[in-house]
């Protein structure tokens, strides 16, 4: 084999090596820019969403329109939505199992919030009805203005407050 062929193969291999590297980086590039970072404050001013800390006694203005319950059919919530607070926009699907809310990593909904307790509150369903129970949290769990002291039934659209977050059951 001639010297020239060997040299060409040698340089060709380096090109191949870098071609692979750039192909991999191309995939990463799409991956890195695939995540969109949104400034929260900006969004809340442009989109007239409920202000943080709004009381449930005010007119129920929720970011997502709550569907009107169909008469004759019990309103079964399908998901739990965080409507304000550090985790705003997070949804947790509701199945039959209970949902644990708190700061502990083992919770279903892990709140990164200094005002919430490790195991703060629990949502569970009994006979198709969801109940909210406070697990002895330091700062309390609220439905509207009222502190939850015993398991309280909650329906879709009720504003639940845990630490700095407001949660809502949605259908």
């Amino acid at each position: 084999m001639s010297e020239l062929t060997i040299t060409l193969l040698r340089l060709g291999y380096l090109v191949l090596l870098w071609a692979f590297v750039f192909a991999a980086i191309g995939v990463l590039r799409a991956d890195i820019y695939g995540t969109r970072v949104v400034q929260r404050r900006l969004r809340s001013t442009t989109k007239e969403e409920p202000q943080y800390g709004r009381r449930a006694t005010d007119t129920p203005a929720t970011p997502v329109p709550v569907p009107v319950p169909v008469p004759g059919q019990p309103a079964v919530p399908r998901r739990l939505v965080v409507t304000s607070g550090p985790l705003r926009g997070t949804t947790v699907p509701l199945g039959s199992a209970a949902i644990l809310i708190g700061r502990a990593p083992s919770c279903t909904l892990v709140l990164d919030d200094d005002y919430s307790s490790q195991r703060h509150a629990r949502l569970y369903s009994e006979a198709g009805q969801w109940y909210l129970e406070d697990l002895g949290s330091t700062n309390g769990t609220f439905i509207g203005r009222d502190r939850v002291t015993e398991p309280t039934p909650v329906g879709p659209g009720t504003q639940l407050r845990v630490g700095q977050s407001t949660l809502e059951l949605q259908r």
Partner: protein, 477 residues
């Protein structure tokens, strides 16, 4: 505060298959070029090599399609590319040794280890459905990790090779238990730190603008330091000790976000290293070979001289920008060209251009690991992925730094590239764990309507976590 708007992620299996083509070409091309460069013809085992590597890579790919459809698409091709190139390079060194009447079959054995490593990776992906299962074994992992770490010190079991006591003799072969220990310890650190990070992040005295942790929380880091020093003294291996301590400090930083832990760790290690260098001859010799490598006396010193290091540097220099070409350099002039100094061998034959491409591959592996840590939604997974990604980066840094005389030479191996069964197997397990965690990280979080394919699996997943949540460790506080 910023929020991350979720977007539809593609599973990425098609991308992975597409990337596997150039990745396999890198390995197989290198193997062919080694034959052309040394004998002037295609090597006889080329077809078998190509078929074997392709079958293994495609096999792992198919298992990912089956069991982890959302896993990261870049990890597997990158690992396959580096591994294939490493195999070709080791074959090339075998040929060079044969020309000097030293019959070795490093490449053949390494191919066996590659197959075993990839089969074990498949086993991890298939058997481990959810990485959070590992959290249950936090303290079991601690015991296993520490036992593995000190196993070479057991008389009769551990053997001393080239001054370092990091091997054990089992089943007629030697094995480096520290390589497996790094995975097990990463699991332990992740489980331990995710439970205790709140305490360790508490603020203590402020010194020179640096928020130090409370003094009473220094216990764990001092314990890790003591074990690292024990390894350094007992096994005479700077690399394992550095990896163990570095992993702990890095994961502590990941868990607490406190820079002061890194500073404390660096100060402790610098102190320990200085102490070891002044007390133990072998550590002092390493420092001497690093600082005065080109000194005639140091170069010629029989044990612990800088001859190997300097020959490696000469190899890198003769490679230049574009390398001598595969099969046309003299990598065999450096002792341990197939394991400790494979970076110098690759640098000689592929030049700076090729070596940088390989370093970028390690960068990609690490980046994907850290990206997985950012994306995954549970603290344990974050810490584990971050820690495993750190081991890849740290090992590469320590090895390349040692070979290029940036830091003292240590006994760590270059992941996927260097000859060594324990290292190759444990790195494939690391990649398998990262793939498993990235599958969780990239799986869409919001459950779309039931018509969506991924949602049913997700539903079960959420269901399972919820059921297990109350009795999970660390849950009750």
């Amino acid at each position: 505060m910023a929020t991350v708007a979720p977007q539809r992620t593609r599973p990425g299996r098609g991308t992975e298959l597409a990337l596997l083509v150039p990745a396999l070409a890198v390995g197989i091309g290198a193997y062919a070029l080694v034959g052309l460069g040394t004998a002037g013809e295609l090597p006889p085992g080329l077809l078998g090599f190509a078929a074997g590597l392709t079958a293994l890579a495609v096999g792992v790919h198919l298992v990912l399609r089956w069991r982890a459809p959302f896993a990261d698409p870049v990890l597997l091709p990158t690992a396959v590319a580096i591994n294939g190139l490493g195999l070709a390079m080791i074959r090339r060194i075998d040929v060079a040794y044969a020309a000097r009447d030293r019959v070795t079959d490093f490449a053949g054995r390494q191919m066996g280890w590659t197959a075993l490593g990839m089969v074990l990776a498949v086993a991890v992906i298939v058997l481990l459905r959810d990485h959070r299962t590992l959290r249950r074994y936090t303290y079991t992992a601690m015991v296993i990790g520490l036992v593995l770490l000190v196993l070479p010190l057991v008389p009769g079991l551990g053997t001393e090779i080239n001054g370092a006591r990091i091997w054990i003799q089992v089943f007629g072969g030697s094995f480096q238990p520290a390589e497996l220990a790094k995975i097990v310890l990463a699991i332990f650190f992740a489980g331990y730190l995710v439970t205790n990070r709140d305490t360790l992040a508490l603020a203590g005295p402020k010194v020179l603008g640096l928020q130090l942790p409370r003094l009473r929380d220094l216990g764990p880091i001092l314990l890790a330091w003591a074990v690292a020093l024990l390894v350094l003294v007992g096994e005479r291996d700077l690399g394992t000790s550095l990896l163990f301590f570095g992993l702990f400090v890095a994961m502590l930083y990941l868990a607490t976000e406190r820079l002061s832990w890194v500073v404390i760790g660096l100060v402790l290690f610098a102190g320990g290293a200085a102490l070891a260098a002044s007390t133990f001859g072998h550590v002092a010799a390493r420092f001497e070979a690093w600082l005065h490598a080109f000194d005639n006396d140091v170069f010629n010193a029989s044990p612990g001289g800088s001859g190997q290091l300097v020959r490696g540097l000469f190899g890198l220099a003769s490679g230049g920008l574009f390398g001598t070409g595969l099969g046309q350099g003299r990598p065999d002039l450096v002792p341990f060209a197939e394991s400790d100094f494979i970076v110098a061998s690759v640098g000689e034959e592929l030049g700076l251009t090729g070596l940088l491409a390989i370093l970028v591959c390690y960068l990609i592996l690490t980046e994907r690991g850290l990206r997985t840590a950012i994306g995954v939604r549970d603290g344990f997974g974050k810490l584990l992925a971050g820690g495993l990604a750190f081991t890849i980066a740290f090992q590469s840094f320590v090895v390349v730094g040692g070979v290029t005389r940036l830091i003292p030479l240590t006994g760590l191996t270059m992941p996927f590239l260097a000859y060594g069964g324990s290292s190759l197997i444990s790195n494939w397990i690391v990649v398998a764990l990262l793939l498993r965690i990235s599958d969780h990280a990239r799986r869409p979080a919001d459950l779309a309507p039931p018509s969506n394919q991924g949602s049913s699996a997700d539903d079960q997943l959420t269901e399972r976590i919820t059921v297990r949540a109350p009795d999970a460790p660390g849950g009750a506080r």
